[in-house]
């Protein structure tokens, strides 16, 4: 009885304010989708940084035949003695955790795996074009300066690359994207709150006869306000479902597509997407409920 009555009131309210209801749904959907994308970038960055922190952090590439690097000009390919000396030198450093030697064949195999989709690029590169390298894992990835400097000038070393610096650039870009998504999401949430406020106000105006009589015959405040709050909640829920669809699309198109552009990036799992969707839907519905209540307090004084 009670539920029946309230649902029929809600249905009438939603239908009477159809355009406003659609506006609320769209705003909530976009706002929550952007918020979700921000959270998904966050999760992606998080999983990538744990992934990368286990990997090699410093790579010292060695001179190969006819190496174009300045450090190798006028000298031949790195000798076995030089390699041996370099390895002992690296191992003796206090900051170093582990060191691996990567052969030309191994480097070529990695290269092939990374660019498997680009056959033209692959066919142009030969095994001999790949440099040998020492891959150094540091105890503390931020403590790279001394090792970096020591290796940079060493005989037989063409150049030294700090993976951390490369990753920092990437993470910097991701963080900017995340902030952009969050700022736009915030603006959308603000717009959603105002829109919901207006919708509830219109709804309250449309039903002023009913609410007037309800007050007069002694309906409790909850009974008077519930249909309005339910309207907001349903709009928020529908918006949340649409944003969930958008977020699933974003996972498939944007995040899964990313591994075609970034080598060895980790993949965002569905469980993380599910978490984000749950969170954004809850936030969306809560915003709708709160906005409805706040407006009702002003327009439905009992």
């Amino acid at each position: 009885m009670r539920a029946n009555f309230i649902f029929s009131e809600v249905w009438i309210g939603l239908r009477r304010n159809l355009t406003m209801t659609i506006a609320v749904i769209v705003t909530v959907a976009i706002g929550m989708a952007l918020l979700g994308i921000g959270l998904m970038i966050n999760a992606q960055v998080g999983s990538m940084s744990t992934y990368w922190s286990d990997k090699v952090q410093l790579s010292a590439f060695l001179c190969k035949k006819n190496d174009p690097f300045q450090a190798c000009k006028g000298r031949s390919q790195v000798s076995d003695a030089e390699k041996k000396e370099l390895q002992t030198r690296i191992q003796s450093m206090g900051q170093v955790d582990k060191v691996f030697f990567e052969t030309q064949e191994k480097a070529y195999a990695n290269f092939k795996a990374a660019y498997s989709s680009n056959s033209v690029f692959l066919s142009a590169v030969k095994v001999d074009d790949m440099p040998e390298s020492f891959r150094v894992k540091l105890k503390d990835p931020n403590d790279y300066k001394a090792v970096f400097d020591a290796l940079s000038g060493a005989p037989g070393v063409s150049n030294v690359v700090n993976d951390q610096q490369l990753l920092d650039k990437f993470f910097g870009l991701m963080s900017k994207l995340r902030w952009a998504a969050l700022v736009v999401a915030l603006i959308q949430v603000f717009a959603a709150i105002l829109l919901i406020g207006n919708t509830v106000r219109l709804s309250a105006y449309n039903r002023r006869r009913e609410t007037g009589i309800m007050r007069l015959v002694g309906a409790s405040n909850l009974y008077i306000q519930l249909p309005f709050v339910m309207e907001g909640t349903i709009a928020g829920l529908v918006g949340g479902v649409i944003s969930a669809v958008l977020l699933m699309l974003a996972k498939v198109v944007l995040f899964d597509g990313m591994k075609n552009y970034f080598v060895l990036s980790t993949q965002l799992g569905w469980s993380e997407v599910a978490q984000v969707i749950t969170l954004t839907t809850v936030v969306g519905v809560l915003i709708c409920i709160l906005a409805s209540f706040v407006t009702l307090r002003r327009y439905l004084r009992v």
Partner: protein, 229 residues
């Protein structure tokens, strides 16, 4: 049943009080006419009984409750014991007679079975049997007011407040309305009716409380409307 003790009400931005040190007692089962010119404080009196307004000074007791100490949370429960009828009927145009009356019970959460039993009884009591499925715009003014009275009485209130219930109705039809009010009064419900209608007051011979500029100038049992009007 209704007890006003030295009640003064001044609306914001008005220098003259709407009610000025009013003390009055209405007992259980009484029928009281509240008369006086427009702006004399009749409607303010009724609004104070419903706790739609608060007095500036003085105490109001309704059905044994001190309204000043009644929390907002409990105001709806007070209003369930008071029925209201107005000059403009205040029916819902998109609901038929039965639905309009049932609405008052639905919104206070009464079970459907109870509503199905009680509503036809009350519709019959106000003399609308056979018209339960008419829409308000298919009814005359008098019939619409009967629907409003059925809605006000369906929850068996202890008090019925009527604010000029015959104000929009011709004199012949008004007699029928007054008969229904009298019938409701005979069930033990206290009735307070604000009115301008001298003929009705004179014919009913009930208690008359006259207000002028917010003061009680006359309180007469079995009174008439008064010579001045």
């Amino acid at each position: 049943m209704i007890h006003f003790d030295n009640v003064t009400k001044v609306y914001v931005n008005q220098n003259r009080p709407a009610l000025d040190h009013v003390s009055v007692d209405v007992d259980k089962g009484e029928f009281v006419f509240l008369v006086g010119p427009s702006g004399s404080g009749k409607s303010t009196f009724l609004r104070l009984v419903l706790k739609e307004e608060r007095p500036n000074t003085g105490a109001i007791h309704v059905a044994g409750k001190d309204l000043a100490r009644l929390s907002n949370f409990k105001v709806p429960h007070l209003r369930r014991r008071i029925g209201c009828v107005f000059q403009d009927f205040r029916l819902l145009p998109n609901k038929n007679v039965y639905e309009n009356v049932a609405f008052a019970l639905e919104v206070i959460g009464k079970p459907r079975r109870f509503i199905r039993k009680v509503v036809p009884e009350v519709v019959e009591l106000v003399g609308l049997e056979g018209k339960a499925h008419r829409m308000p715009d298919e009814l005359s003014g008098g019939e619409q007011q009967r629907v409003a009275m059925a809605r006000a009485f369906v929850n068996r209130p202890m008090i019925l407040l009527a604010d000029e219930p015959t104000g929009n109705i011709d004199p012949a039809t008004s007699i029928g309305i007054m008969k229904v009010l009298d019938r409701i009064n005979r069930t033990g419900t206290t009735v307070v009716m604000a009115t301008h209608d001298a003929a009705i007051v004179d014919s009913m011979r009930k208690r008359v409380v006259e207000l002028e500029d917010g003061k009680i100038v006359r309180d007469q049992s079995r009174g008439v409307y008064g010579q001045a009007y």
